[in-house]
Symmetry: C2
Subunit: 512 residues, 2 copies
C-alpha cells in the first residue's frame, strides 16, 4: 500500500444533497461534510434541482469537511455526481434553467417518440442505453418543443459536475464520458457525440459540451472559489467518473467480473468489464466505466430499499423500526406470500415501463411479518435475477458488494447472500461514491499509479454474510417462481394495464 502523504478532497453531487470528504492516500477519511441540495417538484412529474443550492451545498460541505480535517494541504479535488441531470447555459456560462434531474418525467412522450424514430437496437448499440425519459435526449426534445426561446439563447448543456468544476475555477464545462453517455447521443465506442443521432433528432450540435475521460484535469481552483469553499487556490480539479462507477471503486469492485449491488431508492447490480458486451435482450445498460478503457454493465431495477418506505406509508405505520421483529416473525419463503417490487416499472432483466408491483399468493393465514418478509425477498429475488442475467457476460457473484441504504439491514443483506448462495460483503463505507471519487484525486496527486490501484488501496473493510444452504434451497425455489411470474405477466400483457395512470408527484422514477 502506498504511504505517500497526498491528501485530497472529493465531492459528490447527488440529487438531494452534496457530500465532501478529505481523504489520505491510504484511505483514511480525515473530514466529512454534507449539505442539502433538494430536488424540487415545480409541477407533477417534474424534478428540478436549483443550481445555486448545489453550489451553496458544495461550498458548505467542503468547508465542513476541511474544518473537520484540520485544513491540511490539499493536493487535488475530484468531483463526481448523479448522471442524467443537465441545465442549459448561455454563451457566457450563465445558467438559463435549473438542473432537470433523471427523476423528471415530463418527457415521457418525447422518449416514446424518440424510441419510435430511431431503431432501438441501433441506438442502444451506439449509446449503450435504452431510450427513456431519464436520459438527456427526451428532455432536450421537450425543451426544443416547449422552450424554443431558451434553446435559441443557449450555448451549452451543463452537467452538475461541470457546473461545480466551472465554479471551482475551471472556467469551462466539460462533460465526463460516463455522464455524457447518459444523454442518449454519445458513441461509447469512440467516446464522442454521434453525428448520426444528433442529426436524426435535430439536436443543435453547438449545445453539446466538450467531453473528457474520467481522471482528466479540468483546471485549477480559483481564489474566488476558495473564499466560499475553504479550498486553497491553484489546486488541480479532477473529473471523476459518474457516481455509479465511483461507488464501484469505493467498494473495491475494480476487477472485471466483480459485482456491486446498490440497494438504494432504486436497485442496481453492476460491474466493470473490459469490452462492451452485446446483450441480445437489450435490457442491460452499458456505459463508460471508471477508466478510459473499462466499461460498466448495469442491471437496473426501479424499486430497492424504497419498498419499505412505500409499504409503511401505504398502511400508515412505518416498518423500519419494526423490521428485525417482523423478519423474525416469518420464515424463508414468507409462508408462500410473494412481492413483485416493480412499483414504478421494471428495468433489467425484464424492462417494462408499464410493470407495477404486486403481492401474490396471499392466503388466509398470512401475517404482516410474512408481507414484510415478502417485500425484502421480492427485492432480493429481483437482485438475484439481475445477477443471473449478468453472469453469462463473465460476472461472478462471489464476494458481491452490497451497499446503499438497504444494506444497513442485516436481514436483507443476509437474504441476498442466501439467495445468491455465495458470500457477500457489506462495505463499512456508507458513501462509496465519495470514496471512489477520492481515488481519482489521489492518482492525480501521485499517491497511486492508477485509479484501480488507488481504489484497491483505499476501499476499506466490510462485514461478510455467509449463506445458509438450507435457506438457499428454499429461496431459489422462490426466485424461480418470481421469474415465472414476471414472465407470465409480460406474456399476458398484464404489465400494461395501468400504463395510463399518471405517476403522482413524488413518485420514484426510472434512472440510476
Amino acid at each position: 500500500m502506498s504511504r505517500s502523504p497526498g491528501i485530497v478532497v472529493a465531492i459528490d453531487i447527488g440529487t438531494s444533497a452534496v457530500k465532501a470528504g478529505v481523504f489520505t492516500a491510504d484511505g483514511r477519511r480525515l473530514g466529512y461534510g454534507t449539505a442539502p441540495a433538494p430536488s424540487l417538484r415545480p409541477r407533477p412529474g417534474w424534478s428540478e434541482q436549483p443550481a445555486m443550492r448545489i453550489w451553496q451545498a458544495t461550498a458548505g460541505a467542503c468547508r465542513q469537511a476541511l474544518a473537520e480535517a484540520g485544513s491540511p494541504k490539499i493536493e487535488a479535488v475530484a468531483v463526481t455526481g448523479a448522471r442524467g441531470s443537465f441545465a442549459l447555459a448561455d454563451r457566457d456560462g450563465t445558467l438559463l434553467t435549473e438542473f432537470i434531474t433523471w427523476q423528471d418525467r415530463r418527457a415521457l412522450g418525447q422518449a416514446a417518440a424518440a424510441a419510435a424514430l430511431a431503431d432501438a437496437g441501433w441506438l442502444q448499440r451506439i449509446t449503450g442505453v435504452r431510450m427513456d425519459a431519464s436520459l438527456w435526449l427526451p428532455r432536450l426534445l421537450w425543451l426544443i418543443e416547449h422552450r424554443r426561446d431558451l434553446v435559441a439563447a443557449a450555448g451549452c448543456i451543463v452537467t452538475p459536475q461541470a457546473f461545480v468544476i466551472g465554479r471551482l475555477g475551471a472556467g469551462h464545462w466539460p462533460a465526463e464520458w460516463s455522464a455524457a453517455a447518459y444523454s442518449g447521443l454519445f458513441d461509447i465506442a469512440d467516446h464522442r457525440w454521434h453525428e448520426g443521432l444528433v442529426d436524426t433528432f435535430s439536436v443543435p450540435s453547438g449545445l453539446l459540451p466538450a467531453t473528457l475521460p474520467p481522471g482528466a484535469e479540468a483546471g485549477r481552483t480559483s481564489p474566488a472559489a476558495g473564499i466560499e469553499t475553504a479550498l486553497p487556490p491553484r489546486v488541480p480539479i479532477v473529473l471523476a467518473a459518474a457516481d455509479g462507477p465511483c461507488a464501484e471503486l469505493g467498494c473495491g469492485v475494480v476487477e472485471p467480473g466483480r459485482l456491486i449491488c446498490y440497494l438504494g431508492t432504486a436497485l442496481s447490480v453492476a460491474g466493470p468489464v473490459e469490452r462492451r458486451i452485446e446483450d441480445p435482450s437489450g435490457n442491460l445498460i452499458t456505459a463508460p466505466g471508471s477508466t478510459r478503457s473499462l466499461y460498466r454493465v448495469l442491471a437496473l431495477g426501479m424499486a430497492g430499499a424504497s419498498v419499505l418506505d412505500w409499504y409503511g406509508k401505504l398502511v400508515g405505520r412505518p416498518v423500519l423500526d419494526r423490521l428485525d421483529a417482523l423478519m423474525e416473525g416469518s420464515v424463508p419463503g414468507a409462508g408462500g406470500a410473494r412481492f413483485i417490487p416493480a412499483l414504478a416499472g421494471s428495468g433489467a432483466p425484464h424492462w417494462s415501463a408499464e410493470a407495477r408491483g404486486a403481492f401474490l399468493d396471499l392466503g388466509v393465514g398470512h401475517t404482516e411479518a410474512d408481507l414484510v418478509r415478502a417485500l425484502l425477498e421480492g427485492v432480493a429475488f429481483e437482485c438475484f435475477w439481475m445477477i443471473e442475467t449478468l453472469r453469462p457476460f463473465g460476472f461472478d457473484p462471489a464476494g458481491l458488494r452490497v451497499t446503499g441504504g438497504g444494506s444497513r439491514s442485516n436481514a436483507w443483506t443476509q437474504l441476498i447472500a442466501d439467495i445468491a448462495g455465495t458470500e457477500v460483503v457489506v462495505p463499512d463505507e456508507t458513501d462509496p461514491g465519495l470514496r471512489g471519487a477520492a481515488a481519482y484525486a489521489l492518482v492525480h496527486a501521485g499517491s497511486h499509479p492508477d485509479v484501480l490501484s488507488a481504489a484497491k488501496a483505499i476501499a476499506g473493510s466490510g462485514s461478510s454474510r455467509v449463506p445458509s444452504p438450507a435457506a438457499t434451497e428454499t429461496l431459489r425455489a422462490g426466485a424461480d417462481y418470481y421469474r415465472d411470474v414476471r414472465r407470465a405477466f409480460a406474456r399476458s400483457g398484464l404489465d400494461s394495464d395501468i400504463a395510463h395512470v399518471p405517476l403522482p408527484a413524488g413518485a420514484y422514477s426510472l434512472g440510476l
Copy 2:
C-alpha cells in the same frame, strides 16, 4: 297477503351459533334468540362442532325467542342448518363423533382420490356438486381409513338438522334432500342415494340416512324437549331446506331466474331454477332447491366479507370502523390497484383449490384507501363474474338481493349495483335463512298454500341501490381486467404454486 293467525318457530343451526325466531303468518318477527355453538379446531385443518353445544344452543335460542314473543301458541317448528356437517351415530341413535363441519380439511387427500376414482363429469351430473373435502364423502372415506372402529359401530350418518329434530322429539334422523345432496352420493334427479356411487366408493350403505323432501313433517315435539326449549309438546317438526335455499326464500327470491348474493365469510351468488342446468365448465353447483321440484344453482367464492377482517389482521389495524372514510379516500377503479380475493382457493366461475389472493398493479402513489377500495372491488368483480356466468342459464341480475354481513356496508352494495349496472336490493332482514325456514312452518300451519307464496308474503322490505352509469363504465373495465388476470393465472399455472403450503388452523375453507 294471508292474515291467518298461525304463529311458528324457526331454528337455524349454523357452524358458529344457533338462531331461533318466532314469526307470524304475515312475517312479523315476535321474538328472536341466539346462542353460540362454536366449531372447534382440535387439530390444524380440522373443524368439529360439539353436538351438545348445538343442542344447548338450540334450547337456549328457543327459550329466548319464545320468551321475547310472550310464549304464544306455536303451530309448527321448522329447522334449517348449514350443509356439509355430519356425525356418526350408533344403532341406538347415540352419537359416536362430534359434527365434522364443511370447514374441516382433513380429507383433502381423500377428496383428490375420490375425484380420481370416479369420472368427475359423471359424478357431477349425478350429484350436482364438485368433489371437494367439504362434502361428506371424503370425510367418510377418511373415517373408514382412520377410524374403522367407529364406522363398524355406526348405524347412521346424522346431520345437525336431523340431530336437532331427533332431540326435539322426532325420534329418527332423516336428512333433508338439499343437505343429503352435499354428500357427493345423492342422485339429485331421483332424490335418492346413488347405488353406483355408493358401490364405487364402498360406502357402507346402511350408514346413509333416510331422506325427506323440504317441508316434510318429521315428527312432533316431545314433552322432554319442551322442558329444555320451552316449546309445547306435540308441535309438528318440519324439515326446512338447507340454509342456502332458506336464505333465498327469506329474501323473497322465489321466482326462477332471480338471484341472491350472499356476502358472508364466503361469497355466493345463487338462485332457483325449474330444471337442472348443464354447466359445461363444471364450475357451478346444482342442488335440490326450496321445493320438491325446484333446483338451486350456485356460484361459490371462497372469500367474501371476510377479506376486510383478513386485511385488518394482516396490517394490525381493523378497517371496519374506518371503512367509509377509506372508501371516500379513493375513487372507482382504486387508482389502478387490484385485488384477487381467492385467499383460500376459488370456486365458480374458475374453480381452483390452489388459487390464492393477490394485490396487483401497485404503484408508488397508492394509499391504504386504494388498497381497501381494491379489496371491495375485487370481491364485487368476482360477484359480477358469477352473475355473468349464471346469466346464460336464464338468470337476470335485475333486483339482485345482497345479504350477509358485507351487505351492511352501503359502499359495498353500491359497488355491486354499479358493477352489475342494475338496481340491487339489500333486504332489511339480517337473518334471511331463519325467515326462510319460517315459511315452511307457516305452510305446515296452513297459513299459506305453499312455501313460495309464504316466502313472498313474509320476505319483508329492503333498500334499493341504483347504479351510477359513470361508475359502471369504469368498473366494467376493471371487471374485464379481473377476469383476464384470473384466466392468465390459471393458464400460467401460477394458481398452483403454494398448493403445498398447509392452511393454518382457523383458515377459511371451501364450502357454503
